[in-house]
């Protein structure tokens, strides 16, 4: 394999927390050295643009098996490459759920058609029904990086406690969805002025805290390694801080949409702004942004959820929740950078380094020896978002028609270029 020298770059190093001019040499798919003088290599002139570790996106929904018309590994992979996502951590909320080693082997084989790395999470319980645990050991051997029932929260605490205890013995990571299911049933907005005005069935943001407190108590009881998929309200943060201070093996994530949008964006029942959990108040949004900045929240995910037009062109309450986000992830994150909330190393710590570390993957770093999964981007390049130009099969993005800043110029996986912007 050849040696590549990324010259004249602005290196974003989340591990060191630095944002500085430099160069990077890559050999055999691995980062060889930083700031090497005149190496024998093919030179890529970065033109002073940002070079960062590729994004590791924890919690991407791909429609395989079962909903390939919404998204395939091929289309999701192309979207990821165009969005600077070099590792997709796929969700098991498929049809059927990824709950057996056989299904996991099938999706692992199918995933080969994607130009980026794909790792899979498996269901924690059979059929994600919250009653009987899956073959956590076999699934782990077959490559599952974490176990989750995604947005389904079981009320059978005995079953969940057993699954967590079993997972703990294998050192497996469990990803939970903090939400009280009986309070949130049927709700598609956050309770408050906006939901009342629009007459949308709503759930109190406290329901998230109740779900989180429950999960944290289970973690204390079982000792399992735990990651909360999305913390979206200020009410949940004290519990999270307490758990971390008490030494529980707990991390938390949030979604890029909850960091950049609020409940008022729903406007006149725009279903592309319907999410699980629903968008929150502006105060909550700002509290979550601050929690990412201070490290209380570790991971930012896109929570990419393809939904076809039919499932979105329905009355708000009946419409599907979620948005495609692989391609808009980085530009949306740049909103936080341009607003002065987070610097670039902090963003890539939450979008690449932390999720990789939590899953035990070597990605997310610019250090010698790390995989050469890289994204070259211009944080200032403006563009008008057009959803029909997205590579995802589904076009359900809340950013349609929005003014964005931040363009991916090139993406490399293991030193091989998988995306080059047409106008770069």
């Amino acid at each position: 394999m050849t040696t590549i020298h990324f010259a004249n770059a602005r290196l974003i190093d989340p591990e060191a927390g630095t944002d500085a001019p430099g160069s990077l040499t890559v050999k055999d798919g691995v980062i060889l050295a930083r700031d090497e003088k005149a190496p024998k290599a093919a030179v890529i002139d970065c033109g002073g643009k940002c070079l960062a570790p590729g994004i590791v996106d924890l919690g991407v929904k791909i429609g395989e098996p079962g909903e390939r018309h919404r998204e395939s590994f091929g289309s999701a992979g192309a979207a990821a490459a165009a969005g600077g996502v070099t590792t997709i951590i796929a969700r098991p909320d498929t049809h059927p759920a990824i709950d057996t080693p056989e299904t996991l082997e099938f999706v692992t084989r199918r995933a080969a058609e994607a130009p980026v790395r794909i790792r899979h999470m498996a269901a924690l319980t059979k059929g994600r029904e919250g009653r009987e645990m899956t073959e956590i050991g076999f699934l782990r051997d077959a490559g599952a990086v974490a176990f989750t029932d995604v947005f389904r929260v079981s009320t059978d605490l005995k079953a969940i406690a057993r699954a967590m205890t079993y997972a703990r013995s294998l050192g497996a990571l469990v990803v939970g969805h903090p939400q009280d299911p009986s309070l949130s049933a049927g709700a598609s907005a956050t309770s408050g002025k906006f939901a009342s005005l629009r007459g949308i069935p709503a759930v109190s943001p406290i329901a998230e805290r109740m779900g989180l407190e429950r999960d944290l108590a289970l973690v204390e009881m079982t000792g399992v390694r735990y990651h909360a998929d999305q913390i979206t309200t200020a009410h949940s943060l004290p519990a999270l801080v307490r758990a971390k201070a008490a030494g529980l093996d707990v991390t938390a994530g949030t979604s890029i949409h909850h960091l950049t949008l609020n409940e008022f964006d729903v406007g006149d029942y725009r279903t592309f702004f319907k999410f699980t959990p629903p968008l929150r108040s502006e105060q909550d949004r700002l509290a979550i942004v601050a929690a990412v900045a201070d490290g209380t929240i570790d991971v930012i995910s896109s929570l990419h959820t393809p939904a076809d037009e039919e499932s979105k062109r329905l009355p708000y309450e009946e419409a599907a929740a979620g948005a495609v986000a692989l391609e808009t992830f980085l530009p949306a994150a740049m909103r936080l950078f341009h607003a002065g909330h987070l610097d670039l190393p902090a963003l890539f710590r939450a979008m690449a380094l932390n999720p990789a570390r939590r899953l035990g993957l070597p990605q997310g770093r610019l250090a010698p020896g790390a995989p050469a999964d890289l994204v070259l981007f211009d944080p200032d390049a403006p563009f008008l978002m057009d959803r029909f130009r997205l590579r995802s099969k589904s076009k359900n993005t809340p950013f349609d028609g929005a003014r964005m800043e931040g363009k991916v110029l090139g993406t490399w996986v293991a030193g091989t270029q998988v995306f080059a912007a047409a106008d770069a």
């Binding site: 408050g192 007459g199 009355p315 309450e317």
Partner: protein
């Protein structure tokens, strides 16, 4: 013209001037409706479809009568016979009806925002006859007309709305309309039936009914849905009546000339005392029904005028 709306989806989109325009025109239709010969031809040749995804007797017949008195061809589409039961989506239903070129589409649907969605897909004027717990604009307009006729004005009144506010589209539309007309609003409900965040709408909230009624000029009662009566939101029917049912004693805390309203159908002995509901000196409940037909005639008349003007502009544009 003072009334510019293309559709009547909610009170939210109407200006105070547009509201007054509807009420003024409705007054003329009240007079027409009291004559022996009630026919008008302002909608002659036009087609009105009543599309009701939720069962309704009162609202649907009121719209039907309003359309017929204005000379429109009125068709009622009931859900039981429609292809909705066969899995057709709301938008497909809308497109199918649209292809039949109706001029006025009156829609009731169980989901908030469903009528807005449908209005985006059709060429005709859409009237919201109630969507989920969002809005029921003609109800608020007929209530406003009833109040204006009884009180001589629709401003600077103290109005108490009492009952299941959380699940009521009637309450929401009334809140918006009466707020826009600068009245003093009070909401009276057990906390389980009070929506969150409404204090920001500029209303005073009460869970004690006598307190809330003090000095009120207008008392609007809301219907309590049967399925919410037992245990879920309130302990029981009889406890609800004891604490929130309107009777002569509770009404004595309101202004001496306070009027009593109810959008119907009433649960006598649950939210309102039967004798009080029938007291012609206090209750304007029958007037509300009468005003309903007149207000709906006025709304359809105004929307039809805008529709004709819009089509006229299109034809002129095509010829130019």
């Amino acid at each position: 013209m003072a009334f510019r709306a293309r559709h009547l989806l909610g009170i939210e989109h109407l200006s105070p001037l547009e509201i007054t325009t509807v009420l003024d025109l409705a007054e003329r239709y009240v007079d027409l409706n009291r004559r022996t010969v009630k026919q008008s031809d302002v909608l002659a040749g036009m087609t009105q479809i009543n599309l009701f995804f939720e069962a309704s007797t009162r609202t649907q017949s009121s719209f039907e009568l309003a359309g017929k008195r204005l000379g429109a061809d009125v068709m009622n589409m009931s859900v039981a016979n429609s292809s909705v039961k066969k899995g057709e989506t709301l938008i497909d239903t809308a497109m199918t009806l649209n292809a039949m070129h109706p001029d006025l589409l009156v829609v009731r649907h169980g989901s908030s925002g469903a009528v807005n969605l449908l209005a985006q897909k059709v060429d005709c004027a859409v009237l919201n006859a109630g969507d989920g717990r969002h809005e029921h604009p003609t109800q608020a307009l007929l209530d406003a007309l009833t109040i204006r006729r009884a009180k001589g004005r629709i401003q600077r009144l103290t109005i108490a709305i009492c009952g299941d506010i959380a699940h009521s589209r009637v309450a929401r539309s009334n809140l918006i309309l009466l707020g826009k007309m600068e009245n003093r609003l009070r909401l009276i409900a057990p906390p389980t039936l009070m929506p969150s965040g409404v204090e920001d709408f500029g209303c005073e909230l009460f869970d004690d009914m006598r307190e809330g009624l003090k000095g009120a000029d207008v008392v609007m009662m809301l219907r309590l849905q049967k399925e919410r009566m037992d245990g879920g939101f309130i302990p029981s029917e009889r406890e609800y009546y004891h604490r929130y049912g309107l009777d002569a004693e509770k009404l004595s805390h309101a202004a001496p000339d306070a009027i009593v309203m109810h959008p119907g159908p009433m649960n006598r002995g649950v939210e309102i005392d039967g004798d009080l509901a029938d007291d012609i000196n206090r209750s304007v409940i029958q007037d509300q029904v009468e005003m309903g037909v007149a207000v709906r005639m006025a709304c359809m008349d105004l929307l039809a005028r805008n529709l004709r003007a819009e089509r006229g502009r299109k034809i002129v544009g095509m010829m130019a």
